[in-house]
Amino acid sequence: MSDVTPSWVATAHQIAVRAWSWLDDAREHFALPAGVSLDRLQPNDDVQPLGELAIAVSVATCGGALGSLATQTIPALAEHAWAQLRNGDLLYELACNHTIDTYPLETYAWFVRAGHRNSQLDELLKHLSSLRAARVPEVLPNRALAVYNAERLLGLPSRADPVALTARTWLGGCPEPWRTDFFTLYMMTHTVFHLTDWGVRPDCLPAHLQAYLHAWLPAWLEVYLEAGQWDLVGELLIVDLCLAESVHYPDAWDALARAQQPDGLLPARPGRVPRDPATAFHDHYHPTIVAAIAGSLALSQRFAA
C-alpha cells in the first residue's frame, strides 16, 4: 500500500470538517416544532432530521480521523438530538400511538448506533417485532431492509431473509442501468446503506451486486454531477464507500468540495441557497448531512486500513 495520501482523502476531510461545522452551527434547527402535539408531528419533516443527525454521528465516531470533533462536538450533536426526543420517550410515545409505522424503530436504531438507549422503548419494540404483523409490513423493499437492519442493531431476532428482501429491491433485480431515475437511485443507495450497515458490513452486499455497482456507478455519478444534484452525488459516493473495494471517485469528491459553501452547507442542487437561515436549513440540511456522512465514512475507512 502506497504511503502517498490520495487527494480524495484531503478532500473528504475538508468536506467533513466543514459540514460538521455547519451542522453544529445549525443545532437550534435540529428541534421538534414548538407546541406541536404528538399526533400532529410529521415523521419526515420533524423527526427525520434528528434521526439523520444520529446516523451521521454514529458514522463519524468510528475511527479517529476527525480528532476532537469526533470526541466532543459530534457526539454532543447526537445528545442534543436525543434530548429533543426526550431521551427516547417521545419515540416510545410515537410507537405506542402509531404502532404500524416502522419509523420509530428505524429512528431509534440510529440512536442506539450512536450509543443511546431507552429501556421502555426496547421492551415495546421487542414485543412489536415479535408479532406476526411485523413479518408483513406493507413497505417499499428498501424500507424492509431498513427495518431488518434496525432490528439487527437492536439485537432483536428477525425472521426476515435478507436475501429474499434484497431480491425484491430494484438493485436486487440488476436492471438495465439506463432504466432508472432520481428517486429510483435513492432507493438503490438506501438498499446498499441498509444491507451493509453504512459500510460496516460490505460483505453483506452479494458479489454480483458489487460488480453491478462497480459497472454502473460511474455512469450515474457522471450524469448527476453534470446536473449538479449534489445530494444524490454524495449518496452515490457513500455507496462506493460501502463496497468491498471502493473506487473513490476523485473527480466527484472534488466537485462536491467545490459545490460546498465555505460555511459547510452543501446545496442539494443548482440554484441560489436561501438567505433566511431557517429556509436554508429546511432545504439543504439533508445534503449537508450526506456530506458529513460521506466525508466521515471515507476518513474512518482510510484510517482503519
Binding site: C174, E176, P177, W178, R179, T180, H208, A211, Y212, A215, W216, P218, A219, W220, E222, V223, E226
Partner: protein, 248 residues
Amino acid sequence: MSAISGPPRAVYATAVETLAGSVVRALTGADDAFRLADQIPLGGDPADQMAGLAAVRVLGSDALAPFVLARHRFSAEDADVVATSIRTFPVPEPDQIDRDDNTVLVRELRDWATGQALIGVGAPGRTHPYPEVAGPGAGRDRGWVEWTGMLAQLSPMAVPGLDSSLHADARRHRLDVARGVTRAMLRRDPLTAARLARWLAASGEAPMDPPFPVEPVLRQLVLVAKPDHRLRLEITIARYGLGRRDNE
C-alpha cells in the same frame, strides 16, 4: 423540391434527414432502388445540390450502407457523388482548429471508413489510410466520457466487416461503451445512445458481465424517441451488427 433558404446548418440538417430516410428505406427493403446520384437533384438548384452533397458528407460511409449491407448496385455516378462531397467539404487543416481537439483525427477515421466501404463495393477511388495516431489506446487517456464522445462521432466505423485498432479498443472496453449508452439515455440524447449501441452491436456476441443487452436499448429508442430518420439509421445499422434485419 424548391430551394430551401436559410443558414447552412438548418438546410443541411434537413438534407441529412432526407438522405438518412432514403438510406433506411433502402436497408429495410422498403425501396427497390437506391442511388446516391438521386439524392443530388438532377439539374437542380445549386443550393439544393450543395445541401445534398453536405448530407452525403455528414453521413459518410453510412450513405454507402445500402451498397455495403443490402447489396444495392453501386455505380460510377454514385462514386462521383462521394468524391465530389469529399472535395467540396474537405477535412479541416490541422492549423485551422484547436490542437487539443480530436477533430482532424475523427474526420480522418471517418474518411478511412468511407474508403473501406468504397473498397468493399469495388470502387476504391482515393485511398484513405488508417491514421497512425489512432493506434491502440487512442483517446483513452481522457477517461470514458470523452472517449465515448469520440466513438459516437465515429459510429460510421461501427459496421460489420470493419476492423481496426479502434474496433479492438471498443471490444476491450465494452463496459465503458455501455456506460456511455447509459449516460446518453439518462441525458435524453437518443442519437448518442444509438451511435454507441452500434459499437456494442459490432463488438461481438459474447454477453457482457454484468449483462448489457443492446436490443432493448434500440427497441426503447424506436418506441420512445422522436421519430427522426438519422436516429433510425443508426438503429437500423446497429441491428445489422446484431444480425437482425427486422426493424420494427
